[in-house]
């Protein structure tokens, strides 16, 4: 409780000082400010959502305004994976492998109905029912496909998330905790389905439905 009061006091002091032309900051703020304004996405599209992603990167919607115009063709140089489109079961291991090859800190946006849930292909035999079964997803965007504004909104949401990440303490960001993995197991092709069908670590069993069936 005490530290919260102190934090608020510090913030007030900061604002007060800025009114007098004195700029103060913290290492965490500068560090996150730098990170959130140069998130480089991986050049990577799976279906029609990728067309919207491309539109977002072009002049009309211009994701360069948010510092994310540098699409990198190599996962080694990318910070953000935008899973844009249908993830088929045949493609899923490759998507997980690409995620594993990205350096930390790394983020994932699951773009569109297919990437978040399987979308219209959910009841089919060949489409993964959401990429969050294998890798941790930071922002989900619904839509089929989502408009470029929706992707920009997701991106700004991610920027806010990055901005709020702590560098120290128990609540520090995922990539700063030694015990959390930065690579996740790549699923195998089984005789009927992918094996395993999901990773319990990132896709834990859901709690029971809040909707009750009336007698």
């Amino acid at each position: 409780m005490g530290s919260e009061v102190m934090e608020q006091e510090l913030k007030d002091l900061k604002v007060e000082l800025s009114k007098h032309g004195i700029f103060t900051t913290t290492l965490e703020e500068v560090y996150n400010w730098g990170r959130k304004n140069s998130v480089w996405p991986l050049t990577f599209g799976l279906a029609c959502c990728a067309i919207e992603m491309i539109a977002t990167s072009m002049a009309r919607y211009d994701i360069a305004r948010f510092g994310a115009e540098v699409f990198r063709p190599s996962p080694r140089q990318a910070d953000l994976m935008i899973v844009a489109g249908t993830v088929t079961k045949k493609m899923a291991p490759q998507v997980v492998r690409l995620y594993n090859q990205m350096p930390e800190p790394k983020y994932v946006i699951a773009m569109g109905a297919c990437a978040i849930s399987g979308g219209p292909f959910r009841d089919g035999y060949n489409v993964l029912k959401g990429i969050d079964r294998y890798i941790p997803v930071d922002v989900h965007i619904p839509g089929c496909p989502p408009r470029p504004e929706a992707l920009l909104h997701a991106f700004i949401t991610l920027q806010k998330k990055i901005d709020a990440q702590q560098l120290r303490g128990a609540g520090r960001a995922r990539h700063l905790k030694a015990e959390t993995p930065s690579e996740y197991p790549v699923p195998d092709f089984g005789s009927h389905d992918l094996e395993p069908t999901h990773n319990d670590e990132v896709f834990p069993p859901r709690p029971e439905s809040p909707f009750k069936v009336l007698p």
Partner: protein, 223 residues
């Protein structure tokens, strides 16, 4: 516009005309016309396995037909089906005045065994006519799932026959490279078959009673 089966020059490429030419040109070929009852009336030709490749080559190289382009190969699954029909049978029935012949209605059930089928749509680039539709049927849906491949005749059939092999489990004898094309190599099912059941996933499903087959609906049906 003229009828789709007659090209501007006037070559009749109707299923009946093709059948007549096949029976004449390919000795021993058994071609049957499969009627299409819909308004499009695109009748097709069912070929026998032994003469299928020969008949296909004949149609491709025929001076008038010149069916040089196989645009589409598709698979169809016809599962086993049971047909019930009511038949009137004369039977001897014991009546008050002794045994007597009487007309009795009986229901008979006949099992029509299923099969797998491939359908080829042929056109002629040179003569600008088509489609001519060929069908091939397997003996059954189990071990007898073999068909002759028409890839040696039309190269464009290669990937589509692979697709039919992948999704329906039809084995094309004579295909140069018969591998799965969409699903992975170790996959054992044939998802486009009518009796395919997708794998169960051990995941609790939201059950708010609205979906068909949900617990609430089943309960209501029980009452």
């Amino acid at each position: 516009m003229s009828s789709p089966s007659i090209d501007p020059v006037g070559v009749d490429v109707s299923a009946e005309a093709i059948r007549a030419a096949l029976v004449k040109g390919v000795p021993g070929c058994e071609a049957t016309v499969v009627e299409n009852g819909s308004p499009s009336a695109q009748h097709s030709l069912l070929l026998d396995h032994e003469h299928a490749v020969e008949a296909a080559t004949f149609l491709r190289d025929h001076a008038e037909f010149r069916l040089d382009f196989c645009s589409n190969v598709t698979g169809v699954d016809w599962p086993d089906k049971e047909v019930t029909e009511k038949v009137k049978v004369t039977k001897v029935v014991d009546g008050p005045d002794g045994p007597k012949e009487q007309q009795v209605e009986e229901t008979r059930k006949t099992l029509i065994p299923g099969y797998l089928e491939t359908v080829y749509h042929l056109f002629s680039m040179e003569k600008k006519h088509g489609p001519v539709i060929l069908r091939l049927r397997t003996a059954n849906r189990g071990e007898g799932n073999h068909l002759p491949s028409l890839t040696p005749v039309w190269r464009s059939a290669e990937f589509q026959e692979r697709e039919a092999f992948d999704l329906f489990g039809i084995v094309f004898d004579g295909h140069p490279d018969l591998r799965r094309i969409l699903m992975w190599e170790d996959f054992t099912d044939h998802p486009m078959r009518k009796d395919y059941v997708p794998p169960e996933e051990d995941e609790p499903v939201m059950d708010d009673g609205c979906a068909p087959g949900s617990s609430a609906e089943q309960g209501a049906a029980g009452q």
